[in-house]
Symmetry: C2
Subunit: 288 residues, 2 copies
Amino acid sequence: MGWGAALSLLRSGFAVHGCDVRSDVLVRFAQAGGLACATAAAAVKAADVVFVYVVNSKQVEDVLFGVQGALEGARPSTVFLLCTTMAPSASVAIAERLETAGMLVIDAPVSGGHQRALSGEITVMASGSGEAFSRASAALDAVSARVFRLGDRAGPGSQVKMINQLLAGVHIAATAEAMTLAAKSGIDLKTLYDVLRVSAGSSWMFENRGEHIVTGDYTPRSAVNIFVKDLGIVASEAQKAGAVTPLATAAMQLFLEAAEAGLGLEDDAAVAKILARKSGAVLPGMGG
Amino acid sequence: MGWGAALSLLRSGFAVHGCDVRSDVLVRFAQAGGLACATAAAAVKAADVVFVYVVNSKQVEDVLFGVQGALEGARPSTVFLLCTTMAPSASVAIAERLETAGMLVIDAPVSGGHQRALSGEITVMASGSGEAFSRASAALDAVSARVFRLGDRAGPGSQVKMINQLLAGVHIAATAEAMTLAAKSGIDLKTLYDVLRVSAGSSWMFENRGEHIVTGDYTPRSAVNIFVKDLGIVASEAQKAGAVTPLATAAMQLFLEAAEAGLGLEDDAAVAKILARKSGAVLPGMGG
């Protein structure tokens, strides 16, 4: 997702400094016209707006507050866009720490997937101050098709993203369950997919991940491990809030089993393999 | 759904005979230009095509094979469209009995809801012989926007509908779970709905039933009891097939609890009330 945002910013004419732990990504970034930096502190030195694209809140803290982290290099009033999906409580705490240091913050988790990131058409679920939004608006426009402004402080952006992930995770698991039952019932999966994607049982995830299962293609667009994390956030925040979430719990169990079975880095649709194994079904791409 | 089909047939110029256990419906049907009949046998006497719209397989058997049932009145080669959502095994058995008696059969469960039925735009998941389809095609065109032909005998139509109901039931329960967690987290439900209906967490059911929960309107478009039945079909057929369906099981549990709590005739989105009560949340329309 960060790669797509970087390319979109370059396409829009921004001078983009970037930093990544993977050196091959930095080389590609420089070839694409970006300014590759060795540390986060160096990357943000001349920046007005900083996009933070890492996997979890621990990595956000490292890249912001660690040695040679972004906070060491940033000028006052730099706008930090926190694009990682993390617990709303973590997002609030990180935003407070940045604001105390004189920075502006937008809680800005994103949605839409790899392809839309490349074309600068992601959706941003954003909350932060008016000043932060006005300073970051040109950069936000470059990377996104739609920005939802959900509040004037960090928190609501991550909360709405968390609920999105609850639904997305359940829908992926439900897609896997539907395909497995279909396979056990002798229904042709491609036919089922073509009918149900335009019926009342459809979902964004059925349409998207259903195709991965039908073709047996588990090349990771988004990995099983991401939903282990995101449904883990749902579970802990739901517990704190006192909300019962039986479906998210059942879905998380399947993603956990998939990760334990060594499928953590496969496409998240690989939860279907867990259901298929338990059911004695053979899905495309699973071999005899 | 049957009412919408009857009106659509009348609009297309068919002579439509109808029978219903509710006399007020028959009166309205006659006012709309239909020919009201006292028994199923009388209704089908002059018919080329018979639509059977009742709630479950027991009612299908009663209306077809009972005293003064349709089979008593029908001429040979009449086409019976079995539009009820029922277990594939039940659909197959009923079709065999009709065919043995010289009738033609299309396993033809429908999808799309009340509004689309009224406008003649339902989706039909259909399987049956080529002869049955050619005889019924004008009538099918009058009631539907789309007919999927899934095989040349009864069974596949009901199987695909069953999988659709698995997904639909899970998605309704997931919508309820998302709204309940949002309410407990202090997120404005209307805002959440507006954002997520166009995000990767969306589903046909989130878009449709989510609005019922946001507005607190539980007027039954489709009732809780329907999903108690349909997820019951999923559970028993999955068990027969040896497929594990943890999400459908979790969703069915919620619909069962809703029915036990006296909500069986409310809109199926009323599963949200069960989750809200368990979570100590108050959703719109639930009172203080």
